[in-house]
């Protein structure tokens, strides 16, 4: 297997979207931009193709699919197909040279971080965004588990939602090449999302952060009420903050090594999961990411439990914000009014000078 089928994040960038998939290209681009991204490498989409072809999996799948026909509305039928196709993919062993190449990268990663059998996350990376995400596996340790999980990521291209979507689009069902990102697990104390604008009104002078204790999964999936901060993008002043009652978090179970959902003890629920220092540092990083990409971003990040500030802050994903960025901007001030008109407005209206309610008042 050609060595270039696996690439370190610092070897790739946004221009390698088709080669390694969007998420990998993005992690590469962030690494290049000098951001603190968990170290790791990308398997190109070619590895996926290579795996399915050389193991004969694709032949078996085509054979099975030659007799498969179902209305895209027939969910149950596609569920059955998923079961078969995934079983085919996951029953195949990785070709030796492929396994060696991945293993040598994994070893290099262990060496680089100084951690034996380093825990990694294996994340899917399609060249285009798909409705219905492919799967991600967290806290993967050791070479043998890594191989198994990479195959599982690949086989997740046969999950039911994706199959139905491909059927609707008239795309081949047996084939959807994706890249895989293998990156160091952040032992997250807290994690969450960050928008480089105010998601409520599109105000571009703000940075908004949502966070929960533990791994970022609970925030990304939207299953918990999150702590929220609004930061001024220019001065990095924390303008508002909301401490939510956070009831559950995703953590790695130290015994099983699996990611589990646990209850947050009452006394910890309303404690803000970030310090002001961390909030401001995140905002500064967010502003830098936006500047790098030249547009508003929707970012995922995590804060490591063990590392000291600010080395504990990691960016794990960024993508363009799409809700407000695509809207046409309209003026909010009346350009026909002079300063004197404004002064008069204020005098007539009275009390409006302080405008909005001050934070913390009158809830």
């Amino acid at each position: 297997m050609a060595e270039k089928l696996i690439l370190w994040f610092d070897e790739i960038g946004a221009e390698h979207n088709d080669l390694v998939g969007k998420k990998c290209a993005n992690l590469g681009e962030m690494t290049k931009a000098g951001l603190r991204v968990p170290p790791g490498f990308a398997l190109t989409v070619a590895v996926y193709e290579d795996f399915l072809t050389r193991t004969g999996a694709i032949e078996e799948m085509r054979h099975y699919l030659s007799t498969f026909s179902a209305d895209p509305k027939d969910y149950a039928k596609y569920e059955q197909a998923t079961e078969v196709l995934r079983r085919i993919a996951e029953s195949k062993a990785m070709p030796k040279d492929m396994e060696d190449a991945i293993a040598s990268h994994y070893e290099a990663l262990c060496q680089r971080t100084g951690l034996a059998d380093i825990a990694v996350a294996t994340r899917s990376a399609g060249a285009v965004s798909h409705p219905g995400q492919y799967e991600t596996f967290l806290n993967v340790k050791g070479k043998s588990d890594l191989m198994k999980n990479i195959i599982k990521v690949w086989s997740s291209t046969f999950n039911t939602r994706s199959l139905i979507w491909r059927a609707r689009e008239g795309l081949p069902l047996e084939f959807d090449p994706i890249g895989v990102a293998v990156l160091q697990m952040v032992n997250a104390k807290a994690a969450g999302v960050m928008f480089t604008l105010n998601p409520v009104n599109g105000d571009p002078s703000k940075i908004s952060i949502g966070a929960n204790w533990g791994l970022g999964e609970s925030v990304v999936s939207g299953e918990v009420d999150t702590d929220e901060w609004m930061i001024d993008k220019v001065t990095f002043e924390i303008i508002s903050r909301k401490a939510a009652a956070k009831t559950v978090e995703h953590v790695v179970d130290p015994e099983s090594g699996k990611v589990v959902v646990i209850d947050i003890p009452t006394e910890r629920q309303t404690v803000p999961c970030l310090t002001d220092e961390e909030v401001v540092e995140l905002a500064k990083i967010g502003k830098g990411i936006e500047r790098h990409y030249g547009r508003a971003q929707d970012i995922e990040w995590a804060i490591d439990k063990d590392l000291p500030f600010p080395q504990n802050i990691f960016m794990v994903q960024t993508r363009p914000e799409t809700v407000w960025s695509c809207q046409e901007a309209k003026p909010v001030l009346d350009a026909s009014k002079s300063t004197v008109d404004y002064v008069m407005d204020i005098m007539m209206a009275g009390g409006k000078i302080t405008g909005e309610k001050r934070w913390g008042r009158g809830e």
């Binding site: 571009p204 002078s205 009275g350 000078i353 302080t354």
Partner: protein, 614 residues
């Protein structure tokens, strides 16, 4: 609920302080709440707030001249004609100043006023450079020169023969009365000049804030201020002059000699002994006129005095700066740094505006806000400090004059006459002089002054209510809001405070005046004299502050102020010293006690009482 939005009526007997009966005669009749109608019913229907920003303490009769004069000199009501209001009505109650906004409710009249306001205000903004930067400064300095030239020489035993030969016709009593009248007239004139640009400056500032809040919902007041800062202003000069003197003292080797002096009177004899010392004294002499015409307080009280009248004060500042220099700290904050940060912040906000149309409006409004901003800082030096220092010196000169004719024993007793009584006293002395009789005041005034001193003592023990009369739904004067920080919200806080027991309060809300969070021991300071009680790291809790409370800000770790908004002195100075500050709390000095452990959250404008003093 309606009847709850009401403070105590200004005529309520509960406001009478036992033992002060007859206090009203200390002040002119038309500056008091009246017992008779129609004044009484107007006063009862009006909302009055206590002007603790300017008068945190009761005023002696002559100290009330400022409010007598400024009330009459408020010219913008009929010059600029702001459509919804005529400005401030004022009353004195138990020595305290109460302000009431006088609205115009007739839409027709409002319309007429609006037309005038538009034309006149636009003209003033367009010609600001000529009207303010050039003409205002010129006429203001000329006024102070004229004030300084007024003299009150003692009467001669016999008039000079020129009175006869040159057909002068009058004797020295007339120049005395003329000099006093001139003094009074100049007080009125100065206050007219003071108000000339007030509404324009605060209005443009408020308009800009409103626009910024619309462009960037939730933007902090502090960030808005940052886009306007970075200009030279007279009020920034005095500290700079002190810093320059400290630096020069260290560089020329006279620093230790200065540090060894506890009082200013020890400094000249010691420094006269060396060349470097004499040179430094010359520098000091140049710097102090006019830059040490700074009030040691807020400039409205006799006791505030000025640096020039109490050189121990600038000496203390200089010694503090010398010590900071010796610790290796840099004491001067270069303006270029402030300007650089202002330009960065402004450029960034500007680039975040989504449409070109809004960007143009923003540019226009920022331009006006920056144009007028220096006025806010300039007039504080020229008027509140320099002019008041000179005027108060004139009153003290009058005191010394009157002592010579035995009407008062101590020159400082002059402060127990009011502005109009003084003319009468001078006339009484004049008659006594030329008829060779004893002025009647010799027996009339001493018991009265003793009584007035007793009354003042009682006044000082009294806590004035924050407001009187019915609370309005909204406040409609840009000055009231921007300068006094009296907003609808603050009034609500006062209304709540009526109900609360101070000892049960654990949290007070105000403005985010200056960023940062600090915990420490609270110390209440009602006057600049209380600053000496502050210990390093204390959190100062004050009814109001002014730039001349500067020594406090070098010691404290945070500030909490009853009144004022983001543009108030306390907030501005705190930002300079990078201290957390929460102004506009309304009730801090009533709720917090010296010794309480408190937390000042300047990021959010919240003060938390962590632990009560035992």
């Amino acid at each position: 609920m309606a009847q709850e939005r009401r403070f105590v009526d200004p005529h309520d007997p509960s406001l009478d302080i036992p033992g002060t009966e007859g206090w009203q005669e200390m002040y002119p009749y038309n500056h008091l709440f009246r017992k008779e109608d129609p004044a009484r019913s107007y006063e009862s229907s009006q909302f009055w707030f206590c002007d603790v920003l300017h008068t945190p303490e009761p005023m002696k009769p002559l100290e009330s001249w400022i409010w007598i004069v400024s009330r009459a000199a408020y010219p913008t009501a009929r010059t600029l004609c702001p459509p919804p209001a005529y400005g401030m009505d004022r009353r004195i109650l138990n020595g305290y100043n109460y302000c009431g906004n006088v609205p115009e409710r007739d839409p027709e009249v409002q319309k007429k006023r609006a037309e005038l306001f538009r034309v006149r205000t636009s003209y003033a903004y367009k010609n600001w450079e000529a009207l303010y930067d050039v003409l205002w400064h010129k006429k203001y300095i000329a006024l102070i020169d004229e004030l300084k030239s007024i003299q009150f020489p003692l009467f001669p035993e016999f008039e000079d023969e020129s009175v006869v030969k040159e057909s002068r016709g009058y004797s020295s009593f007339l120049p005395l009365l003329e000099a006093y009248s001139k003094l009074v007239n100049l007080l009125y004139r100065a206050w007219c000049y003071h108000f000339e640009f007030n509404t324009l400056a605060y209005g443009a500032n408020a308009a800009y804030i409103t626009a910024m809040k619309r462009l960037f919902p939730g933007i902090g007041d502090k960030s808005i201020t940052q886009t306007v800062m970075g200009f030279e202003a007279a009020v920034f000069r005095p500290p700079v002059e002190l810093q320059k003197l400290a630096i020069s003292a260290v560089e020329t080797g006279v620093a230790d000699a200065i540090l060894s002096c506890a009082k200013w009177e020890e400094v000249p004899p010691k420094l006269q002994q060396t060349d470097a010392g004499r040179k430094w004294l010359d520098q000091f002499e140049v710097a102090r006129w006019p830059w040490f015409e700074m009030s040691c307080g807020i400039g409205f009280y006799d006791a505030d005095s000025s640096w020039n009248d109490s050189l121990d004060v600038p000496l203390t500042h200089i010694k503090n700066y010398i010590q900071a220099l010796k610790r290796g700290e840099s004491i001067m904050k270069p303006l270029e740094e402030v300007v650089k940060e202002r330009d960065r912040v402004t450029a960034e906000y500007r680039s975040l505006i989504k449409t070109d149309e809004d960007r143009e409006t923003f540019d226009r409004m920022l331009g006006t806000a920056r144009l007028v901003a220096p006025f806010a800082e300039d007039h504080i030096f020229y008027h509140e400090n320099w002019f008041h220092a000179v005027a108060h010196r004139k009153f003290r000169e009058l005191g010394r004059f009157i002592v010579n004719y035995d009407v008062i024993e101590d020159p400082q007793d002059v402060w127990y006459f009011n502005l109009f009584e003084l003319y009468n006293v001078l006339q009484d002395i004049s008659c006594g002089w030329y008829t060779g009789t004893v002025p009647l005041g010799v027996t009339y005034w001493p018991p009265k002054i003793r009584r007035r001193k007793e009354i003042m003592e009682r006044f000082r023990e009294w806590r004035p209510p924050a407001a009187l009369g019915p609370a309005p739904d909204v406040i409609t004067d840009a000055n009231v809001i921007a300068l006094y920080g009296v907003t609808t919200e603050l009034v609500d806080t006062w209304l709540e405070a009526k109900e609360i027991k101070p000892e049960e309060v654990t949290e007070i809300k105000g403005y985010a005046g200056s960023a940062g969070v600090v915990e420490g021991t609270a110390r209440l300071c009602f006057t600049p004299a209380d600053i000496s009680s502050l210990k390093a790291g204390d959190i100062m809790v004050a009814p109001t502050t002014s730039p001349t409370w500067a020594p406090a800000f070098q010691i404290i770790s945070g500030a909490v102020v009853d009144v004022g908004g983001t543009f108030s002195h306390g907030a501005i100075v705190s930002r300079e010293y990078r201290l957390p500050c929460v102004p506009g709390t309304g009730t801090a000095t009533k709720v917090i006690r010296t010794g309480d452990k408190i937390k000042v959250d300047g990021d959010n404008g919240i003060v938390t009482i962590l632990e009560r003093a035992k």
